[in-house]
Symmetry: C2
Subunit: 482 residues, 2 copies
């Protein structure tokens, strides 16, 4: 199996596709740029969905569902929005065998159709805030696609909220950014940098876009979630207004925020190694796999009976456990198979273990003998696993943090140094920046690095911009990005 996975150092893009194939996460659909999410990949997405959904509810949001189809005219109501999205639209022109009078857009995002609904739902300050989220599929006609990272159709959640004031809407925008960071850190074991997008990179129609940026295993950046303060832009386009306490008609301030199946790609690229996937226990569909080992038939029955006992003990302890009963495969094959799939812990049970009433526990994140613990008493397996799972979760986060630190260059003094660092070391360049939008665009064209964000936390204080030489307090992170 593992031989079927290209080493990361040889070809990172190929490694990524190999892992997706070998771990049976997804595959290309017959329609260009679309993918089939296979059961194991979908189970990871379900864990992401549940982790986010729980947080949305805890912060007072409700789920709803808005239509897939949006009249083309709706998109045209917000000038910047239509300009940003019109090159990417899939358009239905035929319905029930007849040419449609008004073509329908397959939603690329739902600000417009939801804005239209809010304009009817919101009458008074008493109706505010409106805090709604939707789990849905959306379509953007991308030219270059990559499974999970960028596909024509993808699954996501999109939150859409309406507020009385700019202050409240901005607070919501940042609250949801915090929710995303908390999820990424504590469930996906991915450290992210919270920041604001530049004007060049912001969402089409937003006043300000915020992002969580993560570093992938090749040093590239991935925008793993965004939260937008939309100001009055969509409120004016769709007449979302309310009567305030003084009976004066006011425009609402709205927000939107989203995380997509792209997060699965982030999990693969942040944690994966040359053996395949490594899943953080919080998101792993299977947290512990039990591999029974036997040679002779009489061993089989004894080993399986103990394996089932361990399986029950773990299931009772609410551990997601799977007993690999396949008869026609060797233990070595199975070890490899579950390693490729990134299962955090493996329990091996052989005839000797049965005699001694113990098992062997192996960590996916610590290769070789070091990650193995033999002689774990059966009576204590559940407790040992419950200790180890958070340890693995924490270790993955710490490794990712250390990797990011090792691949971040703090401060460059010149554009030449900027280019040298990018070429020779890659990773993130975190540095003072006072360039214009045009400077940013030129830099992107010349180096392929984009301004990922202006981080919200800036302990640096004032410094000199490497490009313009101006002194500034503004710090930016640049990187190649997906």
């Amino acid at each position: 199996m593992a031989e079927k996975i290209t080493p990361r150092s040889a070809d990172y893009s190929r490694w990524y596709l190999d892992v997706i194939r070998e771990a049976e996460l997804a595959e290309n659909a017959p329609v260009r740029g679309c993918m089939i999410i296979r059961p194991y990949g979908y189970a990871i997405w379900e864990a992401i969905r549940d982790g986010l959904d729980r947080r949305f509810r805890a912060t007072g949001h409700q789920n709803a569902y808005f239509p897939l189809f949006i009249p083309l005219s709706f998109l045209q109501k917000e000038a910047e929005h239509v300009e940003g999205f019109s090159p990417e639209l899939a358009i239905v022109t035929i319905g029930g065998g007849e040419q449609l009078e008004e073509p329908l857009v397959v939603r690329p995002t739902s600000e417009t159709i939801i804005g239209h609904a809010y304009s009817r739902w919101i009458r008074s300050y008493r109706d505010l805030p409106v805090l709604i989220n939707q789990w849905a599929n959306v379509v953007r006609w991308e030219l270059r696609t990559r499974p999970f990272l960028r596909t024509l159709e993808f699954l996501w959640q999109e939150g859409h909220t309406a507020h009385a004031t700019a202050e409240e809407a901005i607070a919501e925008t940042l609250r949801m950014l915090d929710v995303y960071e908390d999820f990424a850190r504590n469930e996906a074991a991915i450290p992210v940098i919270k920041g604001r997008k530049s004007q060049n990179e912001k969402f089409a129609g937003a006043v300000a876009s915020y992002t969580i940026e993560a570093m992938m295993g090749n040093g590239w950046a991935l925008q793993a979630g965004t939260s937008h303060y939309l100001g009055e832009n969509f409120a004016r386009a769709f007449e979302i207004r309310y009567l305030d306490r003084d009976n004066v008609l006011q425009y609402c301030h709205t927000t939107s925020w989203g995380v997509s199946t792209r997060m699965v790609g982030a999990v693969i690229m942040v944690h994966g190694d040359d053996q395949g996937l490594r899943l953080p226990p919080a998101l792993a569909p299977i947290q512990v796999v039990i591999v029974p080992i036997w040679r002779k038939d009489d061993e089989r029955a004894r080993v399986l009976s103990v394996a089932e006992q361990v399986e029950r003990a773990l299931a009772t302890a609410e551990v997601r456990v799977h007993l690999d009963r396949r008869d026609d495969l060797t233990p070595g094959f199975k070890f490899n198979d579950w390693e490729v799939r990134g299962v955090p812990l493996r329990i091996e049970i052989g005839p000797r273990d049965v005699e001694q009433q113990t098992v062997v526990l192996a960590r996916r994140d610590v290769p070789g003998r070091e990650g193995k613990q033999a002689g774990v008493p059966i009576a204590g397996v559940a407790a040992a696993v419950q200790d180890l799972l958070p340890a693995v979760q924490q270790a993955l986060l710490q490794q990712a943090l250390a990797f990011r630190e090792a691949n971040t260059t703090y401060g460059v003094r010149s554009y030449d140094e900027f280019k040298t660092v990018l070429e020779e070391k890659g990773g993130f360049i975190r540095t003072h920046w006072a360039g214009s939008d045009a400077d940013e665009a030129r830099l992107k064209e010349e180096t392929k690095a984009t301004l990922r964000c202006f981080p919200l936390e800036v302990p640096e204080g004032e410094g000199r911009c490497f490009l313009t030489g101006q002194r500034t307090r503004q710090v930016a992170i640049f990187a190649r990005a997906y």
Copy 2:
């Protein structure tokens, strides 16, 4: 509020739409035939989804996700399938600003695209069975639409399985029909009749279609879920084959089965009354609402403090509870508001109750004084609620069963009697039937009644067909239907 709901006896269709509007379940979208599912309606769908999903997992199924878009040519591979679905297709002809070479169909159902994937995934008998389900949106270009019951876009699950033999596939088809019946009965409190569809009414491409049929509050039938045995039809169209134990290439036998947001419509129409919705506790987003009652400000604090205590006790007991804190509304308004929304139990707490450390408990399903229980000690509220919720659940099921029995006519002797019963009494006519497909079609045209199903359980034994006079063991249920 309640005055805004047309009585069922005056206009059942209007009543249905009134309830959906007043309970804020859904509304029409700006695109004809599409709907917006509002948070309260969506929460009911989420409960339906969770109840089904749990059952699918317990029977060994896994979730996955297949693309929204299907190449038009795929649909054409199964002759009956394309004939059935082509009048209902929404077709994308433009993507990314360009005319597509091959138009893409927005999936009306996914047998074809999933069949294509299975043909690649399945090689040997060892790969079987494949047991996959998908939660998704689908689009069928319907001319006459009605919220939840028939919409252009709807949400559903579609199970797709592949098996080595006809026997196994048929067993799966019937197993999932049982799962649907179990869900309908025990969570939706809807008694359903399991049956086989006639050739005229079966799914386009199936060998045999099975259904769960429910009776709505006006005596009409609703097909609330279907399970299809597809034989080798899609296996032959998409080359889904496996090597059997003797190394011979064989076609798989496949099944598909689905339940949709239509189930929300069934819940509304089976349980609703002239006051609005009545929700079975298993599906109710809010199982218990607490309405605090006070006149003076000093009462307010004391009442709210007790209300919060009760809220905590119920939440701890894992009851879905909501405390209505709204200051600007009278208790009477609130009572009505939550009745319209069908909350199964209401707790009233006033100053006198606080003094006596008791509450009043009122059942939504038993109107007036009879449904009220005063003087329930606060310490015992959680226990009382935990006793009452299953009682309400059971009562709704029993009422629906009794209603169905009262509105079912067992056996008619002639076509004239058939027509008289349909006109004067309505409901289900359950009777021996030996008519041809053409007879069935004529009867539909002349009476608007359709052959809902051949029930699987037939205690009737042999009898005489009311139309042809032939003796037969076959029994059919006829009814007007949505």
